[in-house]
C-alpha cells in the first residue's frame, strides 16, 4: 500500500504549482488551469484522508466527486466568459481586463 506521505506530497506539489501558476501567468486560460490544479489537489486530499481515517465510509469520495463536478461547471462558465472577452478585446491577458475597474 502506498504510504500516506507520498500521496500528500503529490497533492501539496499540485496545490503550490496551482498557486504559483495563478500568481504568475498572465493568460486567463493558464490561470484557469492553475485553479483546476488546486481543486484537484483538494480532491486528492479528500480521497486520501477518507481512505486512511475512515476506511468504511464514503463521504470523502463523494466530496471528491462533488469537487470534480464543480470544477467542470466552473471551467465551462469561465471558458464561456473568456470567449466573450476574446471577442471583445481580441486578447485574454489578465492585465488587459481593466474595463470592469470603474
Amino acid at each position: 500500500m502506498i504510504q500516506l506521505e507520498y500521496l500528500l506530497i503529490i497533492s501539496a506539489v499540485m496545490l503550490f504549482a496551482g498557486i504559483y501558476g495563478f500568481f504568475t501567468r498572465k493568460s486567463t486560460l493558464a490561470m484557469l488551469l492553475s485553479i483546476e490544479l488546486m481543486l484537484n489537489a483538494a480532491d486528492i486530499n479528500f480521497a486520501v484522508f477518507n481512505r486512511m481515517l475512515f476506511p468504511d465510509g464514503h463521504e470523502g469520495y463523494f466530496f471528491a466527486i462533488f469537487g470534480i463536478a464543480i470544477a467542470a461547471a466552473e471551467s465551462a462558465i469561465a471558458i464561456a466568459i473568456m470567449i466573450n472577452i476574446y471577442r471583445m478585446l481580441k486578447n485574454i491577458s489578465v492585465d488587459e481586463l481593466k474595463q470592469m475597474k470603474w
Binding site: 498557486i19 495563478f22 500568481f23 504568475t24 490561470m31 489578465v94 492585465d95 481593466k98 470592469m100 475597474k101
Partner: protein, 631 residues
C-alpha cells in the same frame, strides 16, 4: 343634518377639479363650475340655517348639533377630532360666507374677464371658501387651527394672484409672514390649553382645569394674539392694507367680509371660557380693539387710494367687533353668562353679519370704479355719479350703513356695540362714539371724492368711464337689498351670549347720540369735500402738514417694523445665527466629507483591479491567520 358635509365637500371638489384641469377647460366653463358649486353650497347653507333655527329649543336654547365628529389623530390620552359643529354662530357664519362668496364668484365673471389664470383664480376661490367654511364649523380648537392655516394659505395665493407684479408678491409674503408669526402664539395657546384641559374641544373639562387655573387665561390670551394677527389688530395690522394688491373681489371676500373676522369668530367661539375663567384678561381685548379702531380710523381719513381707505375702515370696524366682545361682563345674579351683561357678544356677531354685507358691497363697488377708471387713486376719480348710477346708489347706501344712519343695517349693530361699551365704561363708550364719527367722516370723504367733486377731464377724455356689466352690478344690488333689510332681523333671537332669545331694545339716548354724531360728521364731510374745489381741506392740510403726513404714512409703523426687523433682528440675531450655521454646523460636516475624501484618495491605489495581486494578498492573509492559530 348629515348633508352639511357637502357644504365642505363641494368647494373642495371644485377646487381639485379646477386646480387639476387648469387651462384644459375654458375660462367660462371654469367660472360656471366654481359658481354652480358655490350656488349649491349657498342653498345648502340656507337650508341648514332654516332647519337649525326652526328646530325646537331645548331649555330655551338652540341645541348644538354635531353630525360628524371622528377621531382623526389619537395621541395618548389626547385626540384630534375632525367634524362639523352647528351652533347659532357657526350657522350664522355659514350664511355670511356662502352669500358673500357667491356674490364674489358672480362678480368675478365681470371683473376678472379676460385675465390670465382665470381658472386658477376660481380654483383658489373655491379653496378659500372650503377652508373658511371648515374653520367656522370646526368642532375643536385644533381643527379650527388647521383650517385657519388653510385660509392663510389661500389668502396668500390670492393676494399674490398677479404674480408678475413685485408689489403683489411682496404684499402676499408680508401677509403670510405676519399672520404666521401671530399663529405661532395661537399654536402655543392651543398646546397649553390641550395640556391642562386634556381636550381640544370647546366644551370645558372642569377636572383637568384644577391643575392649571392660571394657565387658562394665558392660553386664551395667546390664542387672542393669533386672532389679532388674522383680524389685523394693532400692531399686527400692517399686512392688511398691503393685501389690497390682490384682485378687488378677493379683497371683498377675504380681506373685508370673511377671513379677517376669523379672529373675532375665534373669541366668540371661546367666549364661554373667556367670560368664566378669564374675565380680567378681556380688558386686553378691549384696549387692543380701542387703539386699533382709533388708529385705523385716523389713517383712513387721509389715504388717497380708495382700497386702502376701505382696508383701514375694515380694520377699524373689526376692532369694533373685538371691543364689543371684550366689554362683556359676567352676569350679576349667579348665572355666569347673562344676556344683558353680555350684550356685546350679540352686538359683535350682529355687526360681523351686517359689516360683512356692506363692506363686501363697498369693496365690490370700489371694484366697479377701478374697473371704470383703471386706477385706485382718488385723483383719477371725481364726478363719476353721472357715468355709474347703479354703483353710485349702492355705494351711497353702503356708506350710510357704515356711518350708522337708520334704517340701514350698520346703524342697528353699531348702536348695540356702543350701548354695550357705554355699559362697560363711559370712557370706552365715548371713544368708540368718536371713532364712529370718524368712520362717517372718512366714508363720506371717500364718497364725495369718488362721485362728486371735480372730474378728471384729462383722464376721462380718451376713456369715458362706463357702468359695469350686469355680472358686476347684480351682486351690488343683492348686497344692497341685504344691507337695507338686515337691520330689522331680530338677531338676538338667533344669536345671543347664553343662547336664549334676547329682544334688542334700542337705547334711545345712545342711538340718538350716535345718529347726531354721524349726521354731524357727514355734514362736515359734505361741507369740506362736496364742492368742486376743496378750499377747507387744503387749508387744513396747510395748517397741519406734519399731522397729515404722519397719518398718510400710517404713523410710520411700517417703517418701525422695517427698522426693527432689518436693523435689529436681522443684523444682530439672524446674521450671527446664519454665520454659525454656515461656518460651524456646515463646516463640521464639510470637514467630515473632506476628510473622507482625502483618506479614500490616499488608499485608492490598493484597489488596483489586478486579480493576481488580490489573490496574493488573500493568500498572505490566510498564512497570517494560520500562523496566529498555530501560535
Amino acid at each position: 343634518m348629515e348633508y352639511t358635509l357637502f357644504i365642505l365637500l363641494l368647494p373642495l371638489c371644485s377646487f381639485l377639479l379646477l386646480g387639476l384641469l387648469d387651462s384644459k377647460i375654458s375660462k367660462t366653463a371654469a367660472g360656471i363650475i366654481g359658481t354652480l358649486s358655490l350656488g349649491a353650497v349657498t342653498l345648502l347653507s340656507y337650508f341648514t340655517a332654516f332647519e337649525y333655527f326652526t328646530a325646537d329649543r331645548v331649555n330655551g336654547v338652540f341645541e348644538k348639533v354635531m353630525p360628524y365628529n371622528i377621531t382623526w389623530l389619537p395621541l395618548g390620552n389626547l385626540h384630534f377630532d375632525m367634524g362639523i359643529l352647528l351652533d347659532p354662530i357657526s350657522v350664522m357664519m355659514l350664511i355670511v360666507i356662502s352669500t358673500v362668496s357667491l356674490m364674489v364668484h358672480i362678480y368675478s365673471f365681470g371683473y376678472m374677464k379676460g385675465e390670465r389664470g382665470f381658472q386658477r383664480y376660481y380654483a383658489f376661490l373655491s379653496l378659500f371658501t372650503m377652508s373658511m367654511l371648515g374653520l367656522v364649523v370646526a368642532t375643536n380648537i385644533f381643527q379650527m387651527y388647521l383650517f385657519w392655516e388653510l385660509v392663510g394659505v389661500s389668502s396668500y395665493l390670492l393676494i399674490g394672484f398677479y404674480y408678475t407684479t413685485p408689489a403683489a408678491i411682496a404684499a402676499s409674503k408680508k401677509a403670510f409672514i405676519v399672520t404666521r408669526f401671530a399663529d405661532m402664539f395661537f399654536l402655543v395657546g392651543i398646546l397649553i390649553y390641550g395640556y391642562y384641559c386634556k381636550s381640544f374641544g370647546f366644551d370645558f373639562n372642569a377636572e383637568g382645569f384644577a391643575a392649571g387655573a392660571f394657565m387658562l387665561p394665558t392660553a386664551l390670551v395667546l390664542m387672542f394674539i393669533g386672532g389679532a394677527g388674522k383680524s389685523a389688530m394693532f400692531p399686527l395690522h400692517i399686512w392688511l392694507p398691503d393685501a389690497m394688491e390682490g384682485p378687488t373681489p378677493v379683497s371683498a371676500l377675504i380681506h373685508a367680509a370673511t377671513m379677517v373676522v376669523a379672529g373675532v369668530f375665534q373669541i366668540a367661539r371661546l367666549f364661554p371660557l373667556w367670560i368664566q375663567y378669564a374675565p380680567e384678561a378681556m380688558s386686553i381685548v378691549v384696549w387692543v380693539g380701542v387703539v386699533t379702531a382709533f388708529y385705523a380710523a385716523a389713517v383712513a381719513c387721509v389715504q388717497s387710494d380708495i382700497k386702502r381707505v376701505l382696508a383701514f375702515s375694515t380694520i377699524s370696524q373689526i376692532a369694533f367687533m373685538m371691543v364689543a366682545l371684550g366689554v362683556c361682563l359676567p352676569g350679576e345674579h349667579g348665572a355666569v353668562i347673562d344676556n344683558h351683561a353680555s350684550l356685546g357678544y350679540m352686538a359683535s356677531m350682529f355687526h360681523l353679519f351686517t359689516h360683512a354685507m356692506f363692506k363686501a358691497l363697498l369693496f365690490l363697488g370700489a371694484g366697479c370704479i377701478i374697473h371704470a377708471v383703471h386706477s385706485n387713486e382718488m385723483s383719477a376719480m371725481g364726478g363719476l355719479r353721472k357715468y355709474m348710477p347703479i354703483t353710485h346708489i349702492t355705494f351711497l347706501i353702503a356708506c350710510l350703513a357704515i356711518a350708522g344712519i337708520p334704517p340701514f343695517s350698520g346703524f342697528f349693530s353699531k348702536d348695540e356695540i356702543l350701548t354695550a361699551c357705554m355699559h362697560y365704561s363711559p370712557v370706552v363708550g365715548w371713544i368708540m362714539t368718536g371713532v364712529a364719527a370718524m368712520t362717517a367722516f372718512y366714508m363720506f370723504r371717500l364718497y364725495f371724492g369718488i362721485f362728486w367733486g371735480t372730474e378728471n377731464k384729462e383722464l376721462h377724455a380718451h376713456h369715458t368711464p362706463h357702468e359695469a356689466p350686469l355680472a358686476m352690478t347684480l351682486p351690488l344690488i343683492v348686497l344692497t337689498c341685504i344691507t337695507l333689510v338686515a337691520g330689522f332681523i331680530p338677531f338676538g333671537h338667533f344669536v345671543s351670549a347664553s343662547g336664549e332669545a334676547y329682544d334688542i331694545h334700542l337705547d334711545w339716548t345712545v342711538a340718538a347720540t350716535s345718529i347726531v354724531v354721524a349726521v354731524a360728521s357727514i355734514a362736515l364731510a359734505t361741507y369740506v369735500y362736496a364742492g368742486e374745489r376743496q378750499p377747507i381741506a387744503e387749508k387744513l392740510h396747510g395748517a397741519f402738514p406734519r399731522l397729515h403726513r404722519w397719518a398718510f404714512k400710517r404713523f410710520y409703523l411700517d417703517e418701525v417694523y422695517q427698522f426693527v426687523t432689518h436693523r435689529i433682528i436681522f443684523a444682530y440675531i439672524s446674521r450671527p445665527i446664519a454665520w454659525f450655521d454656515r461656518n460651524v454646523v456646515d463646516g463640521f460636516f464639510n470637514f467630515l466629507a473632506w476628510g473622507t475624501h482625502k483618506l479614500s484618495h490616499a488608499i485608492r491605489g490598493l484597489q488596483s483591479g489586478s486579480v493576481q495581486l488580490y489573490a496574493q494578498v488573500f493568500l498572505l492573509g490566510i498564512l497570517v491567520i494560520l500562523l496566529l492559530l498555530i501560535m
